[in-house]
Symmetry: D2
Subunit: 308 residues, 4 copies
């Protein structure tokens, strides 16, 4: 397909590569132009403007957060203004349900098509074409874009025709991941304080009850007390808990675990772990159990500071 792609962070760059490898024609746009040029040798065409990238069969956006996507869509010469009729906007970013609904309404008003297609997977999975994709939008549009979705990864799920539902699914998935982190954090604090070998503990659990990679990977981070550099930073975890709780409040659904997670991310950030991976809940649980940790200087300063 002839694909426009806006947003070349680590995820967007990975997606660009897997689309190119699958034989698609990809025109990329990024505010910081260097990232676009870096993809030229691999076959990408560099767009000079958003409008330029819209000369395509479909436009994909992969931005960091609500604000970044809103800026790209609603800017004066942004996506909404530039998208030709019949060229659907596929939003791959993890955004709030509220923004997804706002985009759906705005595109509908402009007689444009909008599909939400958030993905699960890290940048390496994006590059390898191994993302899991959650898709919601008008079925004929979704149908038409199948070649694109297949290039993203082998596992797709078409949730329905209301785009925001895909975002609910994505956010609830991140909630489940954060729950894995917090439960491991608490269990491993208990294990360490009980003087059981935490490495053997983790190895036993992940080879019996919990063979899923997420248990192994997050367990490893907690085990090694090493949360920097962040794969997915704590403030992003906080943001997703806020979004999932907002989606749940809109449906009148209490989520006690999500509430605990939100408070834990807030405490983690306030205690100096703003730049750490969201698995840093493991450090928080260790500190709250009185265990020594490799807290960063910022955290140390805060935790043991003078009276202000």
């Amino acid at each position: 397909m002839n694909i426009g792609l806006l947003g070349l962070g680590r995820m967007g760059t990975g997606i660009a590569r897997s689309l190119l490898r699958a034989g698609h024609r990809v025109t990329v746009y990024n505010r910081t132009r260097e990232r676009a040029y870096a993809l030229q040798p691999e076959g990408a065409i560099v767009a000079k403007s958003i409008a330029d990238a819209c000369k395509a069969e479909v436009v994909l956006t992969m931005l960091a957060d609500d604000a970044a996507l809103e800026a790209v869509v609603f800017a004066e010469e942004g996506l909404l203004a530039s998208l030709p009729r019949g060229v659907p906007h596929i939003s791959v970013s993890t955004i709030s349900v509220a923004l997804s609904e706002k985009l759906a309404a705005a595109h509908a008003t402009a007689q444009q098509e909008y599909v939400a297609a958030p993905v699960f997977g890290r940048p390496e999975a994006a590059e390898a074409g191994r993302l899991a994709v959650v898709i919601a939008g008008l079925s004929d549009v979704v149908e038409r874009c199948q070649p694109l979705f297949q290039a993203l990864g082998p596992k797709q799920w078409i949730v329905g025709e209301v785009p925001a539902l895909a975002n609910v699914v994505k956010l609830s998935g991140n909630f489940l991941l954060a729950s894995v982190i917090e439960s491991l954090a608490e269990a491993m604090a208990l294990i360490r304080k009980s003087e059981v070998d935490p490495a053997a503990y983790l190895e036993f659990l992940t080879s019996t009850l919990f063979p899923a990679p997420v248990y192994k990977n997050y367990g490893e981070l907690i085990l090694r007390d090493k949360y920097e550099p962040a794969g997915f930073a704590a403030p992003l975890g906080l943001k997703d808990m806020r979004f999932v709780m907002a989606a749940a409040e809109a449906q009148t659904v209490p989520m006690p675990f999500a509430s605990v997670l939100r408070d834990r991310f807030l405490a983690a950030i306030a205690r100096g772990n703003e730049a750490s991976d969201w698995a840093v809940l493991g450090r928080l649980a260790a500190e709250d159990a009185g265990l020594a940790t490799r807290a960063p200087a910022a955290a140390r300063r805060t935790a043991g500071g003078q009276h202000g």
Copy 2:
């Protein structure tokens, strides 16, 4: 009345004084004998043994915790072995519902009378005869001991005939107090970080919505970030949350606030505030909001320590 009194901590000593001042004959016993002799000039008779203190119309116990009271009651020459028939045991200590039930059963088996009469109030209130007393036991025994109860304080409530019910009431009261502390702790962390004057905030609240002394007193401790020396130490708060949760579990009653409180006390203790007043939840809330505090050296070490 002719009263035996076992246990001369700060509360027991205060009670002894208010009983003496009310004209009762008081025979005191304490494992560490000095505390008993200290009361001699004020008219107390010093017992050499528990059995000695049982030569009375009624025996009062005011011990620090379950273990201490169990030791006094079930020791070889302890209260259970020494109490003459017709001399009731009145337990004033804050103990678990389970121990109160065990005492009720043991005394019944020994054909002895047992009344639970836990009190609200600090040592100064005990000494001034200004405690609030929650009483449960056979009504004729309770009746007979009225002169004693009236010396403890102006406010009494006879809950019923099942002793453990008085303990449920006492523990639930301590739960309500701890809830006041945690709610103030959270509100004041928000206020401080919002750069509102916390002293003016507290003054406004306690002169409008929350005129109760508990709000003023605990608010003051949090405001001044000064939790040492402890009036009522954090580990005692933890213990009472454990007891109230055990009582609630026995009745199949979920108590989400109590659960939060238990975890907060655990974190406070693990983070080095073992010797602090239970209002130290205010320090915890401040630290978790990234505010600087006057944390004790132990807490500082733990929070910013090396990896173990």
Copy 3:
């Protein structure tokens, strides 16, 4: 003073009366005109439009929530468009910190003055001129409006010059009130299940440790299991928890009690108590302890319904 007043719900009507009684000239505006005319016999002047009500020395707004206030302020012929320079807008409503900041910015851009002055107290207190007022705004404006504030109630606190700070204070106060409700709800569920007399329990507590009226009033509602009609409805409680948590998140302050409260309000509403007083957390605690309650038909249907 010559005062314009927008919004004549129960609170606004009460405020109008206490202003009139204090001798002020009050021009009232309400979307539903009947409520305005109802105040005419007491001396109020009825405005035909918002602009009409702005012919005054100061304009007061007392709307139900963020949406209602936004509608009044940002409408085509709304307050922002109508307010003459030098006539301050005093917002008495309980609104979000975010909206208060937005209003401050909008009024500043329009070279208008804005003061946040949320109040504590029920409609009866408003009418009696017995509200507690939390004030924040430029000090000369606040100074100028003193006669108005004094008519609202005897107790005022000037927090500072940043309007949103008054909203933080108001929201944190509602958080403290909700904490009282939940702690009483849990304690009284335990007391009822333990077969202690809950009326005597409440009477004892409020005459000893917790003499504040809020404990008596909310305790009474829980005791009588009577939450209808609502003084302050559960969805408003939920809204305020959302607002206080948003304010706390903006300052990176975790508030575990607020998180529990938010989930409890959500469950209360989802379980059919949407029209009940926010003290209905008492019913929720009772139901979760397996106690029988006077749940409304809606709640009964939900709790024991068919599979959907």
Copy 4:
């Protein structure tokens, strides 16, 4: 080996079978004798007394809970009184850390050997010899019993020499499982209320992020809203949360997720789900979101009952 086995519930019976199949000589004892005789055709020898079953190289106990195991061990002609020197007691039951420590002390005093070897797996896994075993005890005793452990399952982990550590591990594992249940329960309540297909949701999640059988199995129960008959009943889940929290409290480790879980199990039981599988937290989350469920009659009565 020559093995005595006390306790023939579903787990004990399964273990007996896998031991027999592995060629061990197994003497079984059960209070209700029928269950022992049922195993005779498969080669088991029926003991008439605990002492009888102790004529072996090693004695295994698999009882339902702390009370049942205490009864068997500390009875007048119980295990402690009957176990010959040199015959180790291997406790396979899920018990509290406190009881495991008490057993270790009692056996040591009696110069007997004690190994804790709790297992993960359901009765079918026990029968198939596919349990995961967590072992702690003196290494030469553990060594000697290897043939027995290998018959239980392919996956063993020797934690150390202090028996209670194996119990900490087992309890923390059950905490992790309960966390999976609650996180799925909340996510699926949100999904159902958002009108996303919950079956497709579960299928997608368990084929991407969460390929572990525990997600599939508990997800299925929640999806079908079918928690009866119980594989592992809610009161057992509550018990294990109590035990893990007690173990954590002994090490001063706060566990916020465990606290939430304890309250959820309490509410589930109080609301009429005492006989349901512990995955019934899914029903609770659905009800608290206002979703209709197939609640049992008991739950329906409670939730919508008359005032008591």
